[in-house]
């Protein structure tokens, strides 16, 4: 009986402990954020390049095709009601409020999050973080916070690019391919959308950026310092980010409606 209890509770306890450690780690990150941002701005810029600029191609390609598919689906269904002009509204709402922030966060986890986690995990496994500490350099300021900030800055920008390219994709499919009137497409879209709708997307992208970056840096930092441990950390980064982003997406949407 006690064995059964222990088998049920110890993973739960382990999860809670892990979560608590991550929250404390997050507080540490935030504590060093202002100093790092001001004094080590160059490092942050380098990480914006790693996390953001290097992800831009994948973001744009995916955005284009996701937007195109939205255009196709919206058109195919709206055509039945003779409302093809509303294709733009549908694609824009889906992109700006949901698909843009969520897919960008997932792509970021896959492209940049895994790279961050494995890089930090390897630095730990090869004693580089300890070596820094022994050289009286705080790895928090030198390694972790710049990477965290690089992600936090990159994700909202990537989301904006994804959404914009997605709209372009929807435009290409609906207007150029299926013959929706270009004026109707954009005018209806502009009339239907509020600035608040765009803000909702921006809020989501900021939250997702913080969460995805935190999880990547945390999984790398808390990885078991072996080859196997680093491998597992990268997997956990993607899984944890996907779950967290989808749950938070629901919660944010629910709280804003």
């Amino acid at each position: 009986m006690t064995r059964l209890l222990r088998e049920v509770f110890s993973p739960a306890l382990e999860f809670v402990r892990n979560f608590g450690a991550m929250v404390l780690f997050f507080v540490q990150l935030l504590r060093y954020t202002p100093w790092t941002f001001v004094r080590r701005f160059g490092l942050v810029v380098g990480q914006v390049y790693n996390a953001g600029a290097l992800s831009i191609v994948i973001i744009m390609v995916c955005g284009l095709f996701v937007g195109g598919v939205l255009g196709l689906q919206a058109f195919a269904n709206l055509e039945r009601f003779n409302a093809e002009e509303a294709t733009g509204i549908l694609a824009a709402f889906a992109l700006v409020k949901e698909i843009g922030p969520v897919i960008t966060a997932l792509l970021f986890a896959g492209r940049a999050g895994t790279a961050l986690a494995s890089e930090i995990g390897l630095m730990k496994a090869t004693d580089q973080l300890s070596a820094m500490e022994m050289m009286a350099v705080n790895p928090m300021q030198r390694v972790l916070v710049p990477r965290f900030l690089g992600g936090v800055i990159s994700v909202p920008l990537l989301t904006a690019v994804f959404t914009m390219v997605g709209l372009l994709g929807a435009h290409l499919v609906a207007v150029e391919l299926l013959g929706v009137d270009v004026g109707a497409f954009w005018q209806q879209l502009q009339q239907a959308m509020d600035v608040e709708d765009v803000y909702e997307g921006i809020i989501k992208s900021i939250v997702f950026g913080v969460v995805a970056s935190l999880l990547a840096v945390w999984e790398g930092y808390s990885a078991v310092p072996t080859a196997e441990g680093v491998g597992r950390a990268t997997t956990r980064t993607v899984v944890a980010t996907a779950i967290a982003v989808l749950i938070l997406d629901f919660m944010i949407t629910a709280s804003l409606i």
Partner: protein
């Protein structure tokens, strides 16, 4: 810090692209700022019933958007809805006896205000009021009338 050139240029381009995209999304996909930068003048119109007219609905003349609804209020004394419109200053020669009606774009589309030119020599200007207005056609009322009418025909 020593960054190499490619990193700096790449980061710069990326951030500029991102900010450009944000700007695009906030300005080009929403209707709010259409007339924000341009020179406009404000007029008012009173309606018995505005139906489902919303702020930011377009004001059109001959089918071309020339302004926006910026405010809808209820006047407790006259028991009418007071609608405030801003109109682009380029269209400053609208006769002051023009009439404003609330129309619907398509069968189930959103509502907008259509202006029909009058014949007066005087023009609408800042603060003037459009006197001739026609309320929104409320679909339920219309159907009701139609049913009564078709009933009495038999």
């Amino acid at each position: 810090m020593r960054q190499n050139l490619a990193v700096e240029i790449g980061t710069g381009l990326f951030v500029l692209l991102g900010i450009g995209a944000l700007f695009f999304l906030t300005t080009q996909t929403t209707g709010r700022n259409d007339f924000a930068g341009t020179d406009t003048y404000t007029v008012q119109a009173r309606f018995e019933n505005v139906g489902s007219l919303k702020t930011r609905a377009p004001v059109a003349m001959s089918g071309v958007t020339i302004g926006r609804v910026t405010n809808i209020e209820f006047d407790g004394e006259s028991l009418e809805a007071v609608v405030t419109l801003v109109i682009d200053r380029r269209f400053s020669q609208i006769p002051d006896d023009s009439d404003a009606s609330i129309l619907t774009a398509g069968l189930l589309g959103s509502q907008y205000i259509g202006l029909q030119a009058g014949g007066s020599e005087l023009y609408l200007e800042e603060g003037s009021e459009i006197l001739f207005t026609q309320s929104a056609i409320v679909l339920e009322n219309l159907i009701g009338k139609f049913l009564v009418k078709s009933g009495s025909d038999e």
